[in-house]
């Protein structure tokens, strides 16, 4: 049997593997469903390698849709989860350093915040480099979108002898802050409890 591009002769087994992979890729390219767009949207943003996708998986499990953001080749993952019995859509965005985009990935993340109806922005930050993360927190803060700061990798920061005064930080920033280690699912319940406050408000406004 000839492959569609390389024209090499492949065995039946290899053909079956390709068909299997094709099904996966076809599934990955489905656009965000209209149903997901109707749900309160929680958007995970933050710099690259801070654990956004780990948190996304912890919140949504494996049932996700990955689609290209319209007009780009940048992938945005959307999943569903339940927060206190309320269904919500969780969106995992490409890493961004600033609201002023330089790369296409940053532009997609920024445009998503600019143009989509966002119920809550969760800024995921690396506890070890918090001072480098906070300028983006301030930029997000300026947008006046509902904002929550999730400080991830707290276990690694503690191993380095660092500690974060949660109460002082919450008071100074005047936004909810959660300390967590997403890879160990530590702090996820606290995060969900804080997210629930926003989701309930949005859910009530939808109902009215």
């Amino acid at each position: 049997m000839d492959c569609h591009e390389c024209k090499r002769k492949c065995s039946q087994e290899s053909h079956q593997k390709r068909q299997g992979l094709l099904k996966i890729f076809t599934k990955r390219q489905q656009p965000m469903s209209n149903e997901a767009k109707q749900l309160p949207q929680i958007v995970l943003v933050g710099m690259p390698n801070v654990g956004k996708s780990v948190l996304f998986n912890a919140l949504t499990g494996t049932y996700v849709t990955v689609s290209n953001y319209p007009g780009t080749t940048v992938e945005v993952a959307t999943g569903r989860t339940m927060i206190e019995d309320i269904p919500v859509a969780v969106v995992d965005t490409p890493g961004m350093y600033s609201l002023l985009p330089i790369t296409e990935e940053e532009k997609v993340a920024r445009d998503l915040l600019l143009q989509e109806k966002v119920s809550l922005v969760i800024h995921v930050a690396d506890a070890k480099n918090l001072w480098r993360m906070l300028p983006l927190t301030f930029q997000l803060y300026e947008t006046e979108l509902p904002l929550l700061l999730a400080i991830n990798m707290i276990d690694e920061a503690q191993r380095l002898g660092m500690s974060i005064n949660l109460e002082a930080l919450e008071k100074e920033l005047n936004i909810p802050v959660v300390l967590m280690t997403a890879t160990k699912l530590q702090g996820i319940d606290r995060l969900k409890a804080k997210v629930a406050n926003y989701v309930k408000t949005v859910s009530l406004s939808h109902a009215n």
């Binding site: 002023l100 445009d111 915040l113 600019l114 143009q115 109806k117 300028p135 930029q139 006046e144 979108l145």
Partner: protein, 86 residues
């Protein structure tokens, strides 16, 4: 309620001027960000937002950017380094 960040006076004046320019456009209705946030991005020269405005508004904003940088004596991009909460 979030406490607004306060930038150095030339930046705050620039934001105020751009917010005034934006009141004559429908830019705010196209985006979910606050007017202040849009003004701050425009002040930093965000082209993708600026292109949503007409030529006259773009030109006025360019003038505000030039004036602000002249008063600051440094790039507006450094503004967040000098901000603080009220």
């Amino acid at each position: 309620m979030l406490k607004p960040l306060v930038y150095p006076t030339p930046i705050e004046e620039g934001i105020e001027k751009i917010e005034e320019i934006l009141t004559h456009s429908n830019l705010e209705s196209n985006f979910s960000l606050s007017k202040r946030s849009l003004a701050l991005l425009l002040l930093q020269g965000d082209f993708s937002i600026a292109q949503e405005l007409d030529k006259n508004c773009q030109s006025q904003i360019e003038t505000v950017i030039a004036l602000t940088e002249e008063k600051l004596g440094e790039s507006i991009a450094l503004a967040p380094c000098h901000s603080k909460t009220k």
